[in-house]
């Protein structure tokens, strides 16, 4: 079988300026993710049910946010979870947050569908550095609320740029053409917004 999902979140070398030692990294949830994936690797279908219960809402919500179509959003969700079932060992060896990785992969897949382009694994090699613990419902809800507040606190231009790039799947050139802003300005806004979110979570 071909490589299905992008590479699991292999932890790169941590840098001193990593701002992702999130407050929610402690707790038993990451171990639960791993244990769940071990059961999935053992072809335990009930483990997939638990896995879906844990992350189905998150994955579907992100896909729906991008695609604005429930059917297409479920398509993306189903494919991602199915590939988790097919290749759970990829995650078992990974470090970092499985939930965070799923969030980014889901967004990328949804954008692929939105832009009607074939998924490009080489581009989709999502390696992320995040200790965001999303295994429990409480933690997910808490983190979501916190991120929303942070994003709402950003300058409107940054919000819009991130919105168009991340959720609408537009390239920076398309955003510049749409807003009339210079390319460099768009780039700066997006990076600044991301750094701001990172620092706010870290604070």
């Amino acid at each position: 079988m071909n490589e299905n999902l992008p590479n699991p979140p292999q932890a790169p070398e941590r840098t001193d300026n990593s701002a992702l030692d999130l407050p929610l990294e402690s707790g038993p949830a990451p171990a639960k993710d791993e244990a769940l994936l071990e059961r999935v690797a053992a072809n335990d279908q009930s483990a997939m049910a638990e896995f879906f219960d844990r992350y189905g809402g998150l994955v579907y919500s992100i896909a729906l946010r991008v695609l604005k179509d429930s059917g297409q959003a479920e398509d993306v969700m189903q494919e991602i979870f199915f590939q988790v079932w097919k290749k759970p060992e990829s995650f078992a060896a990974s470090r970092g947050s499985l939930g965070a990785w799923l969030a980014v992969v889901t967004r990328n897949r949804a954008v692929d569908v939105l832009r009607r382009r074939k998924p490009d694994d080489s581009v989709d090699d999502v390696v992320l550095l995040s200790n965001t613990n999303l295994a429990s419902e409480v933690e997910r809800s808490s983190m979501m609320e916190k991120v929303r507040q942070i994003l709402e606190g950003l300058p409107v231009e940054q919000q819009k740029s991130v919105e168009m790039a991340f959720f609408d799947g537009l390239t920076h050139a398309e955003i510049a053409a749409k807003t009339g802003d210079p390319l460099g300005t768009v780039k700066t806004r997006i990076r600044t917004a991301l750094i701001s979110v990172r620092k706010a979570i870290q604070a």
């Binding site: 490589e3 879906f52 579907y60 970092g96 969030a103 992320l128 991120v147 390239t171 920076h172 990172r198």
Partner: protein, 265 residues
């Protein structure tokens, strides 16, 4: 670009977001292969993007989505791995696929139902056609009788008992051109077992009598012969009734019980 020339942070953020063009992405990807520092930066931006993704309003998966996944997984347990379509293949649209399969299933069902309906309609059509043919035949026969009885050129003959006793009598209406004959009689005596009355047309040309039908009287002695099979174009000079064996006879057997000559013959 070499590892010593790092990618601008803005571009790395856009790369993580996949918001660069294909060419730009390819160039950065080539650089990342040899630059751990830039890879780490991309990973950090990806972590940031995961946070951004969390800002979405939470929505519950559609009803049945969980079951669909579990069913697919259960089905996969018995499917060779080579049969699995990878996620990097052409994206599968479950809804469209589901709609297509549902549409195919609906069409199959509809076609099957249509075939059954067509079959039923064909049977009904055959029944109706048979009924129409039957009614047409009856109508044609009735019309022929009417034509015979109303025809001015029909020969009308009163048949009486050949003997002096007048009680049994019969009336024949005959149209030679069409070979049509209507015969009705009264007061005939009951037949012995194994016997029948037989009507005869006596051709005007002296040919042998033509058998014109077997009949048995009812309880009142009445009987009729309507449109027996007769050749066309045989003018008659007389009509007669004899008693024959139940299966009838090719030639009349004496005595002639009823006889009547065509007027003017």
């Amino acid at each position: 670009m070499t590892a010593g020339e790092h990618i601008p942070q803005e571009d790395l953020a856009l790369y993580a977001m996949r918001s660069l063009s294909a060419d730009e992405s390819a160039a950065i990807r080539a650089h990342l292969d040899s630059c751990a520092e830039c890879r780490a930066a991309v990973a950090e931006y990806s972590g940031d993007l995961a946070l951004v993704a969390l800002s979405v309003e939470q929505q519950a998966p559609p009803d049945g989505a969980r079951e669909r996944l579990l069913n697919r997984i259960a089905a996969d347990a018995n499917v060779p791995e080579s049969n699995i379509v990878p996620i990097d293949a052409k994206p599968v649209n479950r809804v469209y696929s589901s709609i297509q399969w549902s549409l195919v299933a609906a069409l199959v069902i509809f076609a099957f139902a249509l075939m059954l309906k067509i079959g039923d309609m064909r049977i009904e059509l055959r029944k109706q056609a048979a009924l129409i043919n039957q009614q047409a035949a009856q109508s044609a026969r009735a019309q022929q009788v009417l034509d015979l009885l109303t025809s001015k050129s029909a020969q009308r003959v009163l048949l009486t008992a050949a003997q002096a006793l007048p009680q049994p009598s019969g009336r024949a209406v005959y149209l030679a051109s069409s070979g049509s004959l209507y015969f009705q009689c009264n007061n005939l005596g009951p037949l012995p077992a194994g016997k029948t009355y037989e009507l005869w047309v006596i051709p005007a040309n002296g040919a042998a009598p033509l058998p014109a039908g077997l009949f048995q009287p009812d309880a009142t002695g009445g009987a009729s012969v309507i449109l027996p099979p007769l050749p066309k174009g045989v003018p008659a000079k007389a009509f007669g009734v004899t008693m024959e064996q139940a299966e009838g006879s090719a030639t009349p057997t004496a005595p002639i019980l009823l006889a009547g000559a065509v007027s003017g013959e």
